[in-house]
């Protein structure tokens, strides 16, 4: 495309401004953090180092377990056909739009002090187990990321062409050695890094299932320094540490091209020649049943307990729903607008800026914003707008990835035709790009809205007493041991989150032409 090197013309222009704005905003936050941190003598107390160590250990354990368990499950899913298989695979995408605090409540209902598991143990006269601390944090992260691991690895399995499987069978060679191990070797590092990165910046799980000096992550320590110790300089130091950690591993992931996505194109039937041995059938059945139970049971408990809690919903629930929905809509609109501008711009700058938020975290940038606002106004008064803005940024990498690949695909398929017809600028956006982008835009907006509606980190960092969103309301009810009311709110939150996702995704699909 030599002569058509700038086929998008004027519609590329906003992308550069957006790139500068995002980079400037992130840069200013980091600068505010660094300046504040430098003003405090002494660095890295024993408690800070413990938080750093715990952050790394829990992330490594969570990633190893999520990916390790995903291997046999993905293998079984890849080679077995059974009723409900499609539904199960679809369900594996759910944790992306499931509010983390809701997942935690479900896990507590199963594994908690008076949960199902402990009741069973009591029946058998066995000692109770406690999931708080490292075990709980890892359990939460495995629950949330096992599905991602399964989807990523399943993709690898389904990418093995069926002809090659037949060839291996005919040659009576080892399928494992010829096909599966080479595939896993190329897929596993990326899957591990993706989960590791998510666990590095995860806040809600550590907040609710960790805690105490032995099980505090850096993100949790930041929050505590801001909200409990009122030691902003300490928070800034911790944020700097978290930033360095995130940047290092994000750079590693970026260089290795680690998977950022949720496993597309899982409809193929590539690897279906299953071995017939009794043992392998039994093992595959075991893994699928185990994974399904582990992932579904907490969700069933959320619904069951939630229905019971609907009668005892707190009085402020209606306003909280409204607040949560408005914040989510604002976050989705902002995220999609930024991502679209960047995607239309294209090129390495857009790519870099679109991925940049991955290297930071909501709490780190949140601390920066808190510091910047601190001298000007009471930061708690800006809680909702800041939450929307930061949620938009956190969702940006996911939203951008989907939209930019759709823009590239559209240009690759129809760019020449559009150029030959003189379709440029706004007409090109209106007549070619936006219509072709309906599905990915709808999906991305749904994802961003659902991610935002479940946010607890930013709102907790900024909130005053009177700006409760649904997750915050849930968290406060859980803290007051009003578990029934919390379960009711959890059900409302799930319904809101799923509805937002469904509406946007549906809107993108309605009479869209292939």
């Amino acid at each position: 495309m030599a002569r058509g090197a700038q086929p998008l013309g004027r519609i590329r222009a906003p992308g550069l401004a957006v790139a500068f704005a995002i980079a400037g905003f992130l840069g200013a936050s980091v600068w505010a953090v660094a300046a504040k941190a430098a003003g405090r003598p002494g660095f890295l107390t024993a408690a800070d180092l413990a938080a750093l160590r715990f952050t790394l250990i829990q992330a490594a354990l969570s990633a190893a377990l999520s990916v390790g368990l995903a291997i046999p499950v993905a293998r079984a899913l890849a080679r077995r056909r059974f009723a409900g298989r499609g539904a199960l695979i679809t369900l594996l995408g759910a944790p992306f739009i499931l509010p983390v605090i809701v997942a935690v409540l479900g896990l507590i209902a199963v594994f908690g002090r008076s949960g199902l598991l402990n009741e069973l143990l009591a029946l058998a006269h066995l000692p109770k187990i406690s999931i708080y601390g490292l075990a709980g944090v890892v359990l939460g992260h495995v629950f949330l990321n096992l599905p991602l691991g399964i989807r990523l690895i399943l993709q690898g399995w389904q990418a093995i062409p069926s002809e090659r499987v037949r060839l291996a069978v005919e040659l009576e060679g080892s399928r494992w050695r010829l096909l599966e191990w080479p595939m896993l070797r190329s897929v596993l590092p990326g899957a591990f890094l993706a989960v590791f990165l998510i666990c590095l910046t995860s806040f809600t799980v550590a907040l609710t299932l960790g805690g105490g000096p032995k099980a505090t992550t850096l993100e949790l320590a930041i929050y505590q320094a801001v909200r409990f110790d009122f030691d902003l300089a300490k928070a800034a130091q911790l944020a700097l540490l978290q930033l360095a950690l995130g940047a290092v591993f994000a750079a590693v992931a970026y260089r290795s091209g680690a998977a950022l996505g949720m496993g597309a194109g899982l409809g193929r039937q590539g690897f279906a020649i299953a071995p017939h041995g009794r043992l392998s059938t039994a093992l595959d059945t075991f893994w699928i049943a185990l994974a399904a139970t582990f992932l579904l049971l907490p969700m069933v408990m959320v619904v069951a307990n939630g229905l019971g809690g609907l009668n005892g919903l707190p009085s402020g629930i209606g306003v909280a729903v409204l607040r949560s929905v408005l914040v989510a809509l604002a976050a989705a609109a902002l995220s999609v607008a930024l991502a679209l501008a960047l995607a239309l711009r294209g090129g390495p700058v857009a790519m870099l800026v679109g991925s940049l938020p991955l290297a930071t975290s909501a709490l780190v940038v949140g601390t920066g914003v808190f510091l910047m606002l601190h001298g000007l106004i009471n930061p708690t008064r800006a809680a909702l707008p800041v939450t929307a803005a930061l949620n938009a940024l956190v969702g940006l990498p996911f939203v951008f990835r989907g939209i930019s690949s759709a823009v590239e695909e559209t240009e690759a398929n129809y760019g020449r035709l559009a150029a030959s017809l003189g379709l440029f600028g706004w007409a090109r956006l209106r007549l070619l790009i936006l219509p072709r982008l309906r599905r990915p835009l709808g999906f991305a907006a749904g994802l961003a809205a659902a991610m935002s509606v479940g946010d607890l980190g930013v709102i907790l960092l900024f909130s005053g007493g009177d700006q409760e969103t649904l997750p915050l309301m849930m968290y406060r009810l859980m803290g007051a041991y009003r578990m029934e009311a919390a379960a009711g709110v959890a059900l409302v939150l799930v319904v809101v989150s799923l509805s937002l996702f469904w509406l946007f995704d549906r809107g993108g699909r309605a009479d869209a032409d292939a």
Binding site: L421, L431, P435, R436, D513
Partner: protein, 230 residues
């Protein structure tokens, strides 16, 4: 007259050279082995690739610096000739106004062009509901309406069956009479059916055009090898 003056393109190991012209109103078939550069040649004329050196003239004007939409060229590509999200009428209407703000008169022109290729009444349909032959006709209707003098056909009918392809070529010969057509093809029969001239692309050179009848009666060594004759 379309003139390629010392046109060359080099990309890594690939190179292609062309230095000839074809008269206005002629139909030229471009044949040769896969990967030889037939499509690349059309892409340079259409404005999608920059040549490494050389110039392209239409009549007296050097068109080498113009963007694709500003050249006197309409192209039918191998696929994706219609936008699937627009109706057939909108696709054809793009020939008149790229922003699709069509007036009453322009809508009538679109309808007339569709009728001319045998698609009267198909305007409201989406391309996904058309057969392969109908989609080709719709794209041809747009080319008719664009009324640009130079037409590049980059194997647009290669996915059609033999009978349908012959029919489309007849339609092209009939409706585009008077325009200058360059057509890439794999099938010598296509060339025999409608082409006045034949360009053989082989060994990094797009050879000067030869009258089709002459070329097939007494093929040069490259064409003979391509056709599989001794």
């Amino acid at each position: 007259m379309l003139t390629l003056e010392n046109l060359t393109i080099e990309q890594g190991d690939f190179r292609l050279k062309a230095d000839w012209s074809v008269p206005e109103g002629s139909v030229t078939a471009i044949v040769g082995p896969s990967g030889g550069g037939k499509s690349t040649l059309l892409s340079m004329i259409g404005g999608y690739f920059s040549p490494t050196s050389g110039r392209i003239f239409w009549k007296e004007a050097d068109i080498g610096a113009l963007p694709p939409g500003k050249r006197p060229v309409s192209t039918l590509f191998q696929d994706n000739n219609l936008f699937p999200h627009l109706t057939v009428a909108q696709n054809v209407g793009l020939a008149l106004r790229p922003d699709l703000r069509l007036g009453v008169g322009e809508n009538e022109q679109v309808e007339a062009a569709l009728a001319e290729v045998g698609l009267g009444g198909f305007g409201a349909r989406k391309p996904g509901t058309l057969s392969g032959g109908q989609a080709s006709r719709a794209a041809l209707a747009r080319v008719l309406l664009q009324s640009r003098p130079l037409i590049l056909l980059d194997e647009p009918f290669s996915a059609l069956g033999p009978a349908m392809r012959r029919e489309m070529l007849e339609l092209v010969a009939e409706k585009l009479k008077g325009r200058t057509v360059l057509m890439v093809t794999h099938d010598p029969e296509d060339a025999k059916q409608i082409a006045d001239l034949l360009v053989m692309v082989d060994g990094g050179v797009a050879n000067a055009p030869v009258a089709t009848s002459k070329a097939f009666a007494r093929p040069g060594p490259a064409l003979a090898a391509y056709l599989g004759r001794k």
